[in-house]
């Protein structure tokens, strides 16, 4: 009887510790539509998305991604609906380094979390640098569909890269933004945001921090 009591005390303690750990681990993420200026991109008078490269944009800008990564992901439960609840999951990523004569790189993403309910979920990102326009195109491929999305396009301004494209969400036009913050090259931060009003306000709906596996 004493053993059982002891065991349940230990169990309760373990549960409490785990809870504490997850609370301290969870950092607050801003939710909702926030004003954010577009960087090196604008909507023209005719409604086109015009993207210009930063002065320093280079084919080497994604070199930091080469290698293997553990990632912690947060995904807003629903998009452009005022949701404040985030789903968190882990993933891994492997980037093969420079390809295509040094103007591209590719990585594969893997997680057990899948919105489609199938067991595992994988992605490919192919990034290509256009030497003429000095713009990067980032293509995402989803293993659920096996098709390539239209790219987000942009460049790095200092340590932060901004990449945009037009898309639709629930049949309404939106702008999509990817942001890559490589200030900490071993722990870079990626995020995705949607804008329902042509780039005036943005709702971040996905973000992750990559931790380099050394």
């Amino acid at each position: 009887m004493k053993n059982i009591k002891h065991f349940s005390t230990m169990l309760a303690l373990a549960v409490l510790l785990t809870l504490c750990a997850s609370v301290t681990h969870a950092q607050p993420v801003k939710t909702g539509l926030l004003k954010d200026d577009m960087i090196n991109a604008r909507i023209t008078a005719t409604g086109d998305l015009e993207i210009t490269p930063s002065a320093t944009s280079s084919r080497r800008d994604f070199d930091y991604l080469a290698g293997k990564w553990n990632m912690h992901n947060k995904r807003l439960k629903s998009r452009l609906s005022g949701a404040t609840e985030w789903i968190e999951y882990e993933s891994t990523d492997e980037n093969v380094g420079a390809i295509l004569n040094g103007i591209g790189n590719m990585d594969t993403f893997r997680t057990t979390y899948n919105t489609q309910g199938v067991k595992s979920y994988e992605g490919i990102t192919l990034r290509l640098f256009n030497p003429q326009t000095k713009l990067w195109s980032l293509y995402w491929v989803d293993s659920n569909t096996g098709t390539m999305d239209p790219p987000v396009v942009g460049s790095f301004q200092g340590n932060v890269g901004f990449f945009y494209c037009k898309d639709t969400f629930r049949d309404k036009p939106i702008l999509v933004m990817f942001k890559w913050d490589k200030t900490d090259k071993d722990n870079p931060v990626w995020s995705q945001a949607f804008s329902p009003d042509n780039g005036v306000t943005w709702e971040m709906n996905m973000t992750n921090v990559s931790h380099r596996i050394k």
């Binding site: 093969v96 490919i124 192919l126």
Partner: protein
Amino acid sequence: MKIPPSFLLLILCVLFVIVYPHHVLAREEANTSKKITWQDTTRRDSQHDFDFEIGTWKTHLKRLKAPLTGSTIWVEYDGTSVVRKIWNGKANMVELEVDGPSGHFEGLNLRLYNPASRQWSLNFAGSSGGTMSTPPTIGEFKNGRGEFFDQETYNDRAIFVRFIITKIDARTCRFEQAFSDDGGKTWEVNWIATDTLVKD
């Protein structure tokens, strides 16, 4: 002691309840790896159709210099193709690197399996462009021959593009691209590559 039949039935029911969900679960587990409920089941699951190409190949490439101009000048290149497996075969990436009298040429091709349509898309990018050339060619393998098509614009004209991959033997395969500017009645071949396997 005689066991009443109603009691036996009860035990059977309880056993059924205990055992049955596990069967269902087990089947669902098995199905998730190759979920086919929404797919056209009359078509073959072809997610491993490019497995034969994973590896390093020696490439000889012949390219028509100016397609759809009546020109018959071909340029030749030699080099390598490295085919990398992605997603356990459901995708792969070819890196082509060749040299010839008319210069250095690099290209990549990302092949992607669409589990719903059971077709493959071949997405190409050349090292000079820095963007994917769109749209991809789409198709499938039948009896060792893959045929992939798209419709695109070439020199301001709408054309059809056909890409054929033929497995000649375990160590040799052939790639052929052709354009048609008469809606597919006639085709002009403008790209022939022959790959010989160096290592798996």
